[in-house]
């Protein structure tokens, strides 16, 4: 007779238990459907997490914050659905058919309709929620765009305006030179258009969420749960900015003639003077020779709203110099505690901005004269690059003639002798006079 030893019995029991667990474990073979992530960027996580030392007041405040998050989640789900099942609110004016094509898991639906384009082409960098924090984002510089703030850099429109549909199509088709954004020129037009529509959907969604968050969490006001009131206050103003983008296109006026080499050289010379002059101040960031080496300061764009980080670094440096040992330790502890909170409040660590090196001939949104005109006229939205051109709200800005001269100068820089590869920096010695 074959007797089971105690050890053998134990093994058999463990094996049986594991088998039972595998059979009984619900949903073992399925992964959870992806969800849109709540936008809590820049907030202190401790405002939402109960801790043992909380007094009654702190607890109540945290309860309220958590209730606010619930309200935001509910409204966001009602108005926008979820990644696998997007809802297209009529008031957004978005094309539900295009959104369906771009949303959901990669592949076709049972009737062979295209689905999941966003997850196939975009989500790994831009993230499921369009927060610019997909799995690959941490390896990229610059970071992928976070659509949720509704701010876009590369567009043909006035600085505060949204990009036009054509602008977004152009970004997708051309890619963005000098960044990780590739060209999707090989995709059929309807797929590119579907992706553009989905970017708008994520952007509108993100801005509505931001608007609700300001009301509920920052202002501490309750939300009137009447849908038409929410739409009027939190959705319609954002949709309106998308609808008016076309009317904000910058139409560069006729340029001064440069049809002879002399006229061209003259325009370049005028542009060079403006570039280094105190009206346009270009060289303060881009450097006296356009190498992008004009400032030694830390610059950040709006997506890296980390001026707090930058300040903290300075404050920490200053605290290191405190001579009184106890005082230094107290101050440093406080500062490092704050740094810890800041780090937990942001999806990605801060990324510093470099002023563009204008001698490389790499232009992120086009090299045509009209493109360069628009970059100088409107600046680059969301970045320290200012709006240079004169307009109704800033009548003393650069005139269009001045901008055209700057365009001619900037466009000439990559062809300047010192820009040629293999030419040493020694050749720049002649322009040292421009350094202060």
């Amino acid at each position: 007779m074959n007797k089971l030893s105690p050890a053998g019995l134990r093994t058999a029991c463990v094996a049986a238990a594991v088998l039972c667990a595998l059979v009984l474990l619900p949903g073992c073979s399925k992964t959870e459907p992806p969800q849109f992530r709540l936008n809590l960027q820049g907030r202190n996580p401790d405002d939402f997490i109960f801790a043992s030392g909380d007094n009654e007041e702190t607890r109540a405040s945290k309860e309220q914050n958590k209730a606010s998050l619930d309200t935001i989640s509910t409204v966001m789900y009602a108005f926008f659905g979820e990644p696998n099942d997007p809802y297209v609110l009529a008031e957004t004016g978005l094309d539900a058919r295009k959104i369906q094509m771009a949303a959901g898991p990669t592949g076709g639906d049972p009737s062979k309709h295209q689905r999941g384009l966003y997850r196939q082409h975009c989500a790994h960098c831009h993230g499921i929620s369009g927060d610019g924090a997909g799995p690959t984002s941490a390896f990229l510089n610059p970071y992928p765009r976070d659509y949720r703030q509704g701010q876009f850099k590369f567009k043909s429109t006035e600085r505060p305006a949204k990009p036009t549909t054509d602008d977004l199509i152009r970004v997708l088709k051309d890619g963005i030179a000098g960044t990780a954004m590739p060209s999707f020129l090989l995709l059929p037009d309807d797929e590119v258009e579907a992706l553009v529509e989905y970017v708008k959907y994520l952007s509108i969604r993100g801005q509505v969420e931001q608007s609700l968050t300001i009301t509920l969490l920052d202002d501490g006001n309750p939300l009137d749960m009447n849908p038409s009131a929410i739409i009027a206050e939190h959705v319609a103003p954002i949709v309106e900015t998308w609808n008016t983008a076309e009317s904000a296109i910058i139409d560069p006026p006729d340029r001064p003639p440069i049809d002879t080499p002399e006229l061209h050289a003259e325009s370049i010379a005028k542009g060079a003077e403006l570039f280094r002059g105190q009206k346009a101040q270009c060289m303060k960031c881009h450097g006296p020779t356009g190498l992008g080496d004009g400032g030694d300061e830390q610059l950040f764009d709006d997506w890296n709203k980390v001026k707090k980080f930058a300040d903290l670094a300075k404050q920490i440096a200053a605290a290191e110099d405190i001579t009184d040992r106890a005082e230094r330790r107290t101050q440093l502890k406080q500062l490092y505690d704050r740094l810890e909170i800041e780090k937990r409040s942001w999806l990605l660590p801060p990324q510093q901005l470099q002023p563009r090196n204008l001698r490389l001939g790499v232009y992120r949104f086009g090299r045509r004269p009209a493109d360069l005109f628009r970059r100088i006229y409107a600046g680059v939205n969301g970045t320290p690059m200012p709006q240079g051109g004169a307009n109704a709200s800033n009548p003393s800005g650069l005139t269009s003639e001045e901008i055209w001269h700057l365009v001619d100068y900037v466009a000439s820089l990559p062809y300047d002798k010192v820009s040629e590869p293999g030419v040493g920096r020694g050749h720049l010695a002649g322009i040292g006079q421009w350094h202060e």
């Binding site: 202002d219 006001n221 749960m225 849908p227 009206k279 101040q281 303060k284 800033n394």
Partner: protein, 257 residues
């Protein structure tokens, strides 16, 4: 799920509409003064690195925490009503003389108002009184971002669309040491303390609790100037046609970070 269906159907929601109850009729004033407890910190300086040295100089004062050495008054503390149950209108009584258009100026590579308050309805005028160009970057949450290049003596305008729940940074990217803060509110119930640390807010709804937020650049989550002012917030009732004086508020050094 019922709520989601209701929201999508455009039908009425479940929450009751919030109507502010006007319980009082009169108007009163709130005033007070913030003093630094202990030895006032000395005014520090920030190096300009010699950039535009002829105009900016080698260094500019660091205005992060300005305490008057003689009176110990703390400047640049902001107070604003989180929510006003009623807002004073001219027909409610003798209105103060119309204030001139608020101008946000810069000179010597410094913003002349380090902390600036404005009503959302007013247009902000940004001026440059320097002989060199600046650019003034404002990008508050929920509002359009702006960053105009301001040539010498230029003035540009900016319109807030929505009130801010905390002061927003104003910076100049050409001269990165330049920094200021702007708070835009729907009502006129805000004040910035002067050099002596004092403030006064007039025509507040009397006889009702008004919650105030107290903010300082080095206490961005709220200046806890007094015990009980959690997150820098306190409630106060002002008497009709009278003054509620908070007297002298001695702010401990630990309230600033």
């Amino acid at each position: 799920m019922k709520l989601v269906a209701a929201l999508r159907a455009g039908g009425g929601g479940s929450a009751e509409a919030v109507v502010a109850e006007a319980t009082g009729t009169g108007w009163g004033t709130l005033k007070g003064r913030f003093l630094y407890a202990g030895d006032p910190p000395k005014l520090g300086f920030v190096s300009t690195g010699g950039k535009d040295g002829a105009v900016c100089g080698a260094q500019v004062p660091n205005q992060a925490l300005v305490v008057d050495s003689a009176t110990k008054g703390i400047a640049n503390i902001v107070l604003y009503a989180r929510k006003a149950p009623r807002v004073f209108k001219p027909e409610d009584g003798a209105a103060p003389a119309a204030a001139p258009q608020p101008i946000f100026d810069q000179k010597g590579c410094l913003f002349l108002s380090h902390v600036f308050g404005i009503e959302v309805k007013d247009t902000l005028e940004v001026k440059n009184s320097d002989p060199i160009s600046h650019n003034t970057s404002i990008s508050p949450p929920g509002n359009p971002s702006t960053n105009p290049l301001l040539p010498p003596n230029a003035t540009s305008t900016y319109q807030f669309k929505r009130q801010l729940s905390a002061p927003a940074e104003v910076t100049c990217s050409i001269h990165p040491w330049m920094k200021a803060y702007i708070i835009a509110r729907d009502d006129p119930y805000f004040a910035v303390t002067g050099l002596d640390g004092s403030f006064e807010i007039k025509n507040l709804p009397a006889g009702e609790d008004v919650e105030f937020q107290v903010w300082h650049e080095q206490a961005t989550t709220g200046l806890e100037a007094k015990p009980g002012w959690s997150k820098g917030r306190f409630k106060v009732k002002v008497p009709a046609d009278g003054v509620e004086d908070l007297q002298t508020i001695e702010v401990p050094a630990t309230a600033f970070h």
